[in-house]
Structure formats: C-alpha cells, structure tokens
C-alpha cells in the first residue's frame, strides 16, 4: 500500500508530462521555436509521432484515472475528505478525458460531428489542458511555500 502510494503519483506525473508535451506537439510550435532542434527532441516536430504518443499516454492516463476512481470508491470513500481541490481536479480530468475521447472518435472515418462541434471540442480540450497546468502550478507553488 505504501509502495502504491509512492508509485501512483509518479505514474501520474510521468503520464501527464508526456501527455502535455505531445499535446502541445499537435500545434506547429516546436519546430518554429527551435525546441525540435535540441538533440534528441527532433521527433517533437513530427506530427504523426506526437499524435501516436498522445494516444498511448492518453490510454495510460485513462487506466490510471479508472484505477484511482475505483480505488477511492471501494477503499477510501468512508474515510476521505472531499475537498474543493479534489472536486476541481475531478472536473479537469473528466473534461480532458471526455473531450479527448470525442476527439479520438472524430479522427475515425465517417464520424458525424459538425465542423463547429469539432472547433468547440478542440478549444475545450485545450482549455482543460490550460486549467490543468494552472492547477498543477498552483498546487506546486502551495507545496513549495509550505
């Protein structure tokens, strides 16, 4: 259990790091701003690679969230305190997962989503990502201060 308590946050950190990196890689910025020129980071300019990476880490992220949610429901719900921070985290994670799944469905041939809905999906997925970064930044600053 102790081992699990220390490993799970590490899994989350690694997954969220690569998800964010590959997510930003969907925009044509890494080549423009020389980041893909750094030795070993050339793959960041390849949209197909960052796309596949984003999918793989999204799969891992969903597994982790499902595991943590069920773990909470089964083992910890009676003793746990549901704080505002946890609620915000749940909303952001759910937002990212739902918009992400819809965007994956969109990428299949013949999906019936309208162009406007696709724009809304792209913007809301990006917005949830920014919220997550703010949330993590706030959390880290608070942790650092205490």
């Amino acid at each position: 259990m102790e081992k699990e308590n220390s490993i799970m946050p590490l899994f989350y950190k690694i997954t969220l790091f690569f998800l964010t990196l590959s997510g930003f890689g969907q925009m044509p910025i890494f080549k423009r701003y020389y980041i893909a020129d750094i030795p070993g980071l050339g793959w960041l300019a390849n949209f197909h690679i960052t796309h596949l990476m984003h999918y793989i880490f999204a799969g891992i992220f969903i597994s982790l969230v499902v595991y943590s949610s069920l773990d909470f429901i089964i083992f910890r719900i009676d003793s746990a305190r549901i704080t505002k921070i946890i609620i915000i985290k749940i909303i952001i994670y759910l937002g990212l997962i739902i918009t992400g799944i819809l965007m994956i469905i969109k990428n299949f041939s013949g999906t019936p989503f309208s162009p406007n809905f696709i724009i809304l999906l792209a913007l809301s997925h990006f917005l949830f990502c920014i919220l997550l970064l703010f949330f993590l930044g706030y959390h880290l600053t608070k942790k650092f201060k205490t």
Partner: protein, 321 residues
C-alpha cells in the same frame, strides 16, 4: 499498512467492479459502430488519356474561386523567430505550373512509352479529397473541415496558417499565403503565419446543384463526378477497357479522386516534375491508420484500470479472511 475490507465494503467493491465492467461495454459497441452508418461520398473520375492539357480547367478554377483568394495586408508583420518563412504569392498570381494559394489546380506533364510509342500525358492535379483526410483530422483548431459528401476544405476565417495540414498531407497539397487571416488579430509575430489554401471542390457550386468549375469547363470530359460507388465502378470498367491503371482508390486509405491511366502510375511518377507545389503520383500509405488502430486498442485502457483494482480488491479480501 494493509487494506482491510468489511463485508459491506466487499459487496460494494464487487458491485462497483461489475458496474465498471458493464459500463465499458457500450463504449466498446459505440466504437465498433463508428463509420458504419456514414453518408456516401461524392467522387470524381479523371481519365488521363482524355486530357489534352489545354488548361481550361485551371482558368475556370481561378475564375470560379476568385472571391476566395487571399488579399494580404502589407507590410507583413515581422516574424519571430527569424526562421519563420514568409510565403507571399500575391505578386505571382499568374503562376499556373504548380499549386499556389491562387492556383488550386494545375496540369502536370509526363512522357511514357505506350505500344512502343512515346506519348505525352497531361494530368490535372489538385487536392485528392481523402476519405479520412489527415489535413482535417489533425488540424489543431478544426479550421480544415470535411463535409458529409467527402469534400474537404479550409475555413480561411479561422485558419492560422501553421501549415500542419500541408505537413501531414501525403501530397503536400495546401499552400500558404502570409499576411492574411485571423493570426493578424492575435499574436501576428509569434503565432500563425497566414492562411492555407487548396481546392474545396467548388463546395458552393455543389450546394447550388452545379458541378465544380473544372469539370464544367472541360471540353474533353476528362472528369466526371458522382457517387463514389458509381465512380469506382466506372473507373474499373474504364481501366479494364483500356488495359489501364487506377490511382486514388487505396492511396492514403482511399480518396475521392480516382485517376485512370493507360500507363502505370509508378512510371508516370518517375516522369513528372515533383517538388514544392508539385505533388507526386507515388504510393501513399494510410497516414491515419496507425493512430486509429491505437485508438481501438485504447478500449482496453479502462479495462486495465478495472483489472488492476480487481486484483487489489482480491488481495485485500484474501488478507481479510
């Protein structure tokens, strides 16, 4: 610390895991159903043997799409960093020997040997309008769009000109014009670089029940347009009749532009001029296939989470005994 569970928790855990397993089943069914109920696409058949290279289609395309062409504001914003290329075609609107933001269709020339005789072939080239277009699917903002009838187009009002669509297109079709579009109202020096342009198969004419301008203008009836299943049938009949070859049926997972040629396409590909704004006629593997296969495999992601918690639950209940 060991996780201990009561009888109540055991029942709750079992019900939760069973519920989670049941909840993942409709998701799997929905994913399986994707793409089964889609509307039939409209496709075009281009009979290369009929084309005489008169460029009537090229000029008709330019005339019909004049209103959609860019009117860039000059001077262009200074771009940072300096490596960002300024692409300006506004002084070269007359260029017709390649694709540009002002020329969405051009004629490619090839020479080939048919029946021991050297012949010259001319090939109209433009966007292939893929079945599952990577330009549309991978556009970060949804500026590239696909209509139900299969045509893909770029919304010039929201395109930021990042050129990702060109980068992921197997034929590098979309072309950029700097100094126009939404990026000018955002952070013009730091993000975006204009708007991408390409053939939109005259969607506004199609909406009015007309055929695309290039098809209407062609006196040789090089192109025909219709339901994809009909077009494929006609393409195969024609290919059989002339002992010819088909391009576009399977390239990039299938497109809505089907070429029929009396000469193998690898020979044509060797003969044509390729490069910037001059697409190839070579093989193009389905660039969305691997991603979509991984997406299907992602269905096991929630199941993996459920399996892991079921394992933990089993261990905990065993220790409890």
């Amino acid at each position: 610390m060991t996780a201990r569970i009561s009888r109540r928790a055991f029942l709750k855990g079992s019900v939760t895991i069973a519920g989670a397993m049941a909840a993942s089943a409709p998701v799997a069914r929905a994913a399986k159903a994707i793409g089964k109920d889609k509307k039939e696409h409209i496709a075009t058949l281009i009979d290369i043997s009929k084309c005489i290279g008169c460029e009537e289609c090229v000029y008709a395309c330019q005339k019909a799409n004049q209103a959609k062409y860019p009117n860039p504001e000059k001077p262009f914003p200074k771009m940072y960093p300096k490596r960002v290329p300024i692409e300006d075609w506004s002084e070269k609107k007359d260029v017709t020997d390649r694709l540009t933001p002002y020329n969405w269709l051009y004629i490619q020339n090839a020479t080939a040997i048919v029946n021991n005789e050297e012949i010259e072939l001319t090939i109209p080239r433009r966007c292939m309008h893929c079945d599952n277009p990577p330009c549309v699917k991978l556009c970060p903002w949804g500026a590239a769009q696909q209509e139900d009838n299969g045509l893909s187009k770029i919304n010039s009002d929201i395109c930021l000109g990042g050129s990702k669509c060109k980068n992921v297109c197997p034929w590098d079709i979309p072309q950029r014009q700097t100094g126009t579009g939404l990026y000018l109202d955002l952070l013009p020096s730091f993000a975006g670089n204009g708007v991408m342009y390409k053939c939109d198969r005259c969607y506004n004419r199609l909406e009015k029940g007309k055929v695309p301008a290039c098809i209407e203008a062609c006196s040789e009836n090089v192109q025909i347009i219709g339901k994809k299943s009909d077009i494929l049938k006609k393409a195969h009949t024609l290919a059989k009749k002339i002992n010819g070859y088909i391009y576009g049926e399977y390239e990039n997972g299938g497109t809505n532009t089907i070429y029929v040629s009396p000469v193998p396409f690898d020979k044509l590909n060797n003969s044509i001029k390729k490069g910037k704004g001059k697409p190839h006629l070579g093989k193009a593997k389905d660039s969305m296939a691997l991603g979509n296969n991984i997406a299907k495999a992602m269905l096991i992601a929630p199941i993996a989470g459920i399996a892991a918690i079921a394992g933990k639950f089993y261990r905990a209940s065993k220790e409890n005994k």
